[in-house]
Symmetry: C2
Subunit: 114 residues, 2 copies
């Protein structure tokens, strides 16, 4: 399973680096059929997801991943479910928040979308 874990690590590193430095760039990781569930709200499609993420009310944000688990999500497609927990440093607050996020990675050409 080394390969799956490596893909999950590479993807989430890229996702959180993009989130923390260029939030609008996350739109490229979503598609029209993508869904983001965010604290009970369900948002469909790359454009609306990007609008939600870029409108989040903080200036500076840093994700620190604590745990990362990955497993195949389908017997027929090379899709993955990736579960992440970690700490979120927001603006200049000294108190990190805890977060939990799940990705479903769907293969698309040589890379993945979520």
């Amino acid at each position: 399973m080394a390969d799956i874990n490596a893909i999950a690590k590479q993807f989430t590193d890229f996702y959180y680096t993009t989130f923390d430095t260029n939030r609008a760039g996350l739109q490229n990781l979503y598609r029209a059929s993508s869904m983001l569930s965010w604290e009970g709200t369900q948002i469909l499609g790359a454009a609306d997801i990007s609008e939600k993420l870029t409108a989040l009310p903080f200036e500076k944000v840093q994700h620190k991943v604590t745990t990362l688990d990955a497993q195949p999500s389908s017997p027929s497609v090379a899709s993955l479910i990736v579960s992440v927990t970690g700490l979120l440093l927001v603006d200049d607050s000294p108190n990190p928040l805890q977060f939990s996020q799940v990705f479903q990675l769907i293969p698309d050409g040589g890379s993945y979308y979520v």
Copy 2:
């Protein structure tokens, strides 16, 4: 999306009640193709998953769900991804542990397996 959330709530209520009162009964919720990723270890198949869960080194356990999010995981099958966070009360420890768990619910007749 009320229906998806209701299914997720009903399934996770049943899962954690079973976990907390009759851990061996969880085996019925898994299939031969099911995978459990547990703190970095990947375990395949209902029998091995059940063996792992029943061998966990605590006598009494209680899950308290704090957040529950659900979304469809496939355009072609009525499968769901469900993300849960909450608190875990173990044996007689006064300090709850935090947990995060993800389920992929796959429809099977009138119910779901994970």
